[in-house]
């Protein structure tokens, strides 16, 4: 299904080979293939268009180095541009609070509860923190039970209040509980919500205002399609979140949503989820993600071959 970009470029590059310079004519076909590969990888339509326009401008403005074929130059331009778009070095979590409060947000089923557990486990084992998980999803059937099971698996305490249906009150009480027990990280799990659900967006905004977290994280499924931009933008408008978590990257999705989100909100992607187990968490490497979206391993070898 997913032909890698390199294969596509390979085809398009036949047009370019033998030409000494990049012109409007020979660049068009290549860019069409690049754009198509991006769309196949679920990069947003408008962003893919902007991206190829940027690459085109750079290509046209640039003189072809004698050592590079125009085709090679195009590949390099695409790769560099995308890597730059994906952001700089991996960014960690701000742990300056006492306690540090971390708020999870995102659509239904994106992986918030699972990631809350993974992050707690990571901070406990890798950063010697004493985390508390707080169950603020008062809607989803057995959401509180789920967080308790997760907490049990990693040996992290879970604060919940079964009779309470006010997430703001639960979040505040959770933080107070952490302070009383000397726990120094509080991870607040929340219910999944759609960006168009005004009541639910107002709710998370209220939680956010009430607890003023050091880190607000937007958790998104890596398989998300074109709608990723709308969702990311809406959540960011309300929460001005600090970072993005990309889950389910253990699948075979190319994950183009990562580019879309990065371009639209310009927030770092901080961690990725790579499985259902508590250990399946990794820091985010922009260059690796760019490689994945483009099938870049192959493109690099293509450059070497050319």
């Amino acid at each position: 299904m997913f032909n890698s970009l390199s294969e596509k470029l390979d085809k398009a590059l036949h047009v370019l080979k033998g030409h000494g310079s990049i012109s409007e004519v020979n660049v068009a076909e290549t860019l069409k293939e690049v754009r198509r590969a991006l769309l196949d990888a679920d990069v947003n339509f408008k962003i893919a268009k902007e991206f190829t326009n940027t690459v085109k401008e750079k290509a046209m403005g640039q003189n072809v180095l004698t050592s590079l074929q125009p085709g090679q130059l195009m590949v390099k331009l695409v790769k560099d541009e995308l890597t730059q778009l994906m952001g700089g070095d991996a960014e960690g979590i701000n742990l300056s609070g006492d306690p540090t409060v971390i708020l999870m947000s995102g659509l239904q089923g994106s992986g918030k509860t699972t990631f809350s557990g993974k992050l707690a486990n990571y901070l406990k084992t890798k950063k010697t923190k004493r985390p508390l998980l707080v169950a603020c999803d008062v809607y989803r059937p057995a959401a509180v039970d789920q967080l308790h099971v997760v907490g049990g698996q990693i040996g992290v305490e879970v604060y919940s209040d079964k009779g309470n249906t006010d997430p703001v009150a639960i979040a505040k009480a959770g933080i107070a509980h952490a302070k009383a027990k000397g726990l120094n990280v509080v991870i607040i799990d929340t219910a999944g919500r759609l960006a168009v659900d005004e009541a639910m967006m107002a709710e998370i905004s209220n939680i956010h205002k009430a607890i003023q977290p050091q880190e607000t994280l937007f958790v998104v499924d890596a398989m998300t399609g074109q709608d990723a931009v709308n969702t990311a933008k809406s959540f960011n408008d309300i929460l001005n979140f600090d970072g993005v978590i990309l889950t389910k990257l253990d699948g075979d999705t190319r994950g183009g949503a990562a580019i879309s989100i990065k371009s639209v909100v310009n927030k770092p992607i901080k961690f990725i989820g790579t499985g259902e187990k508590m250990e399946a968490i990794d820091v985010f490497y922009p260059s690796r993600m760019a490689d994945r979206i483009l099938g870049m391993g192959d493109v690099v070898s293509l450059v070497e071959r050319a």
Binding site: D42, L107, H148, V149, D227
Partner: protein, 297 residues
């Protein structure tokens, strides 16, 4: 934001006094379709067909073109789907009717089962649920909440037990209790995990020890906000379990779920249900005309 008037407005202008749909309209159509996750391949297929029909029919008014557009898109959706059904129906000749629900993680399988159970129960059918997701934290408790809500029996074992064994027990209990419908929940799994896909084939096979043609329906649940990866999901789940119908969830959001058009076209699996919320009543029988219309809203 693309409004309905802007697209059909352009369509209007473009066809006025012409026999060919112009480039602008097609570009606009391409944007609408790709932005609805229809995918480049299927989008090009639709555009080609429209161009061909426009070339063939000498004169075309806007309303005809508008109609053609809908027809061509809807035409890719399965023919077995008339788009006119509004009822949740179960074939009368299969009793109990066994429905197995599969899909990747977090798409809405368990929730869809709760909603389906509600619909069937409302018709006076006797429903039994099987909690064969024994892996995910509190998955059994989650389905139990739905079973209690709808007031139907649920067969369960402990977390970590063999899902095939739960499926077997559930089908057996359904037969013993003279149920009309048995719905089996399964754990979410990514389609590229071979062991988990094999496990699913086994869950399916085990039911046949009780009823030889079970499951009668394998429902693949797709998240409406999923992009092109849904193709691979349809392909791999079909390979492992012979998927017979699709449900598309979370269409109450801004995602359009257009990827099912290509899937339906390529795999000939009808879309049966759409999920439009988290409540008991938030499941609808799929209507392809409304679905197509939503792209242009």
């Amino acid at each position: 934001e693309k409004s309905k008037t802007s697209f059909f407005g352009k369509l209007n202008k473009a066809v006025a006094g012409k026999s060919k749909v112009d480039e602008d309209v097609l570009d606009n159509l391409e944007e609408i379709l790709v932005s609805s996750d229809v995918g480049v391949n299927t989008t090009l297929k639709i555009i080609d067909r429209i161009e061909a029909r426009v070339a063939q029919d000498k004169y075309l008014g806007t309303s005809e073109l508008n109609q053609i557009l809908r027809e061509e898109i809807a035409g890719l959706l399965s023919e077995t789907n008339s788009g006119e059904d509004t009822e949740f129906v179960i074939p009368k000749d299969k009793k109990p009717y066994v429905l197995m629900v599969v899909g990747v993680n977090g798409v809405g399988k368990t929730t869809t089962i709760g909603k389906l159970a509600y619909q069937f129960k409302k018709q006076g059918l006797k429903v039994v649920l099987g909690a064969a997701d024994t892996f995910r934290a509190a998955a059994i408790e989650q389905l139990q909440v739905w079973a209690d809500r709808v007031d139907v029996p649920m067969i369960r074992q402990n977390m970590g037990s063999d899902p095939a064994s739960v499926a077997f027990d559930s089908v057996k209990a359904g037969v013993d209790q003279d149920a009309d419908v048995i719905i089996i929940d399964t754990a979410g799994r990514l389609h590229n995990k071979i062991n988990l896909m094999n496990e699913l084939s086994k869950v399916k096979r085990v039911m046949q020890k009780v009823i030889d043609d079970a499951p009668h329906d394998v429902l693949l649940v797709l998240d409406g906000s999923t992009g092109q990866n849904a193709f691979e999901q349809a392909k791999q789940f079909t390979a492992a379990t012979e998927v017979t119908s699709l449900a598309v969830t979370k269409l109450d959001g801004t995602a359009k779920g257009g990827v099912v058009i290509g899937i339906s076209d390529q795999f000939k699996i009808p879309v049966k249900y759409i999920g439009v919320g988290e409540g008991l009543e938030d499941l609808q029988v799929f209507n392809k005309i409304e679905f197509v219309d939503s792209f242009f809203k």
